[in-house]
Amino acid sequence: MELNDDNKVNKTMTSQPGMSDVILGCVVPYIDDPKDRDAVSLVCRRWYELDALTRKHITIALCYTTSPDRLRRRFRHLESLKLKGKPRAAMFNLIPEDWGGYVTPWVNEIAENFNCLRSVHFRRMIVKDSDLEVLARSRGKVLQVLKLDKCSGFSTDGLLQVGRMCRQLRTLFLEESSIIEKDGQWLHELAVNNSVLMTLNFYMTDLVKVSFEDLELIARNCRNLASVKISDCEILDLVGFFRAASVLEEFCGGSFNDQPERYTVVSFPPRLCRLGLTYMGKNEMPIVFPFASLLKKLDLLYALLDTEDHCSLIQRCPNLEVLETRNVIGDRGLEVLARSCKRLKRLRIERGADEHGMEDEEGVVSQRGLMALAQGCLELEYLAVYVSDITNASLQYIGTYSKNLCDFRLVLLDREDRITDLPLDNGVRDLLRGCEKLRRFALYLRPGGLTDVGLGYIGQYSPKVRWMLLGYVGGSDAGILEFSKGCPSLQKLEVRGCCFSEHALAASVMQLTSLRYLWVQGYRASKSGCDLFAMARPFWNIELIPARRIVMTDHVGEADVVEDPAHILAYYSLAGPRADFPETVIPLDPLAAGVEL
């Protein structure tokens, strides 16, 4: 698969009679879908080269599956790159911070060779200030999009370099990154140097030293500013900002620290249709009412509303397409949603706090809410929900009504001892059979939640599903073995808290024809840890994070010891095993162990 740059466009076509270079060259750039591109590149060498020259964007789902060098050799003219590092479980604090996913080798390659690169997106990776400086210095003049998405390892000093040297940035995205804050200078640099910014996002970061005056300056200078998501900043201080940001469509963040009646002076920009106000309570909520009917997206994850408040607000939003909230919405809120928001496409219901008294007593979601939702919101494409109770019937409803569903994720909370209707075998089967467009599927239950038969159904009835998370499903090895006979499209599998043995997991991997990535935590280990070698094969990296005991001390000094069972991570790689393992990660090297492949 070595791409020889000498085989350039001027060669006459001999392998494809009837289709000239010119026509091909005109058509191929219009093909954007990665799977289509993949197919194009496999036709013949000529088509492979043309794809390599014209591919605009690459997503590398795990940075260790290939190397910067290989990327450069094949896609030298890349305009946009997305790289992902740590396993998804890192978002739940399950992965050691120093696990890996360093951007440095990639940044260095970008700096030197990727001359067309305008958009860089690093997700769950470790970024250093020096990396940001290298990137800013080398690509600053052309860089339009920089996304440091759930990254860590850098400080506001690195951002300062970005603000200073990347004056063409349309998008600066820092959401949920862990950033060491030294000052708010970086935002000031951005404000004075940039006039083309469209998207600014430092939502869910702990940056508090930013000044609202700089935000206002950005709003004044950047006439195309459409989306701003910030950390905690008093809303009353943003009145000037809102006045200046005349084309703003999306705003999230802020904070309400003052008396509710003072907020009547806040006037939001006229085109605002995507909103999420942090710490917004019942008494501040009315400031949204004047334009609630325009709202397409509502983020209530970090608001302080109870079930009644949800009902009151949601019924005023008939054009809502995206809603994110916690389970305080309750079944009643879901019923209101089903009645009022016929255009709803995406719904995410997160889990509330565990402590008593912190959330509404009515704040539980169950089969009742799900059934109403399925019947009312027929355009639903994405549903992720933490439920306290569930039945087969409600899942069947989803299979019957939610014909547009592409992404379904259900977590059964562990607070209630008795669940109305378990196991969910038939409901899951009917949901999968009904939702024919399903690409992503997550089911997180408890022992007894899904039998081996049910697990077999999942394998049988998920032809297009590419990603799955399975938690506490099945009852024995037979389950996962039956499951793995199906799932023909499954590329990425995450398994947690299941009873499967190493041997069964390894055998399943060998049966899943499309699998390229596996993550497991909580499984039945063999005495030697060697049963995993049943899945040893060329290009397949196997890594272990052995069980750890983590001592967490919170900010009031209380210590909590958390047991963290072992993880298995396995993935296809063209780059061989990693060279940057921390102490907490151990490679399983079949060659060293003398395993014949």
Binding site: A89, M91, F92, N93, P96, E97, D98, E176, S178, E181, M204, D206, D232, E234, Q259, Y279, L301, Y302, L304, L305, D309, R326, E350, R351, M358, L413, D414, G497, C498, F500, Q521, G522, Y523, A525, K527, S528, G529, C530, L544, P546, A547, R548, R549, I550, T553, D554, E563, P565, A566, E583, T584, I586, P587, L588, D589, A592, A593, G594, V595, E596
Partner: protein, 256 residues
């Protein structure tokens, strides 16, 4: 994969011996762990006790590789590897729940885990081990007798050992168990506990976790009698009765 069987048996024994060695080291209180402190942005200290760093430091291999065949076993096991191997396999088969036993021939040291305590015997005659195992196997009545016998010769368990909770869910092992490594597969009554992650809580998203912490802080800060929390920008102090009573309903309110 024809060599696999033979080699895996060797590896299995080696890894078992290694893990027993670690347990012994722990019980003796001679237990140096690599504790790395990683404060996150909120100042929380997450200390990872990495049991394997001990192994990594002891061995000469540059990388802690679970099945590294070139780790110098002589460093850990002065006794002959082959001999201990077979005896080890034998003993492991008769392991009881809650009572895994480590045997080290050369040091003649016996470690017994029982009921949350770790007991170490130095200079324990190797031939007596099978006797003890047989006694323990016979059930609770004779087991208690067995323990009493051991009591008289008992060395005080180290203080570190007391802290070790042998409740199956924790002792991280080179076998990279999910916390149930000490539970033998054969015992059906522990099948449910062996459910891979019985100790796995539903994990919470970092972003929400931070939000809930901040919400608690805000609730604490708004209570009139609390100290100022400089994380939250408070409204200017309001000494009037009327104002503070407006604050307190907020605290009681479940909306917090």
């Amino acid at each position: 994969m024809s060599n696999l069987g033979q080699k895996s048996a060797e590896r299995a024994s080696f890894v078992n011996l290694l893990s027993q060695y670690l347990k012994e080291k722990r019980s003796l209180g001679d237990f140096s762990v690599g504790i790395s402190s990683k404060p996150d942005s909120k100042g929380q200290q997450a200390k990872t006790i990495n049991f394997l760093s001990h192994v990594a430091n002891s061995s000469e291999s540059s990388r802690p590789n679970i099945v590294a065949s070139n780790v110098k076993s002589a460093d850990f096991f002065p006794g002959s590897f082959g001999a201990s191997c077979s005896k080890e396999d034998n003993i492991n088969k008769t392991d009881l729940r809650k009572k895994p036993v480590a045997v080290e021939q050369k040091n003649a040291q016996l470690t017994i885990f029982f009921n949350g305590q770790v007991v170490v015997y130095n200079d324990f005659p190797a031939d007596k081990v099978n006797e003890i195992m047989a006694l323990a196997n016979q059930g609770s009545s004779t087991a208690s007798t067995g323990v009493n016998v051991a009591d008289s010769a008992m060395e005080k368990p180290s203080s570190n050992a007391d802290k070790i909770d042998t409740n199956n869910t924790d002792i991280p092992d080179l076998n990279v168990a999910s916390g149930t490594a000490n539970t033998p597969d054969q015992d059906p009554s522990v099948e449910r506990r062996q459910y891979g992650g019985s100790d796995l809580r539903i994990a919470r998203r970092n972003s929400l976790h931070k939000f809930f912490e901040k919400r608690k802080d805000r609730a604490a800060a708004r209570a009139p009698y609390q100290l100022n929390n400089n994380r939250v920008r408070l409204p200017p102090p309001k000494p009037e009765e009327g104002q503070s009573s407006k604050e307190t309903p907020r605290n009681i309110d479940l909306n917090l």
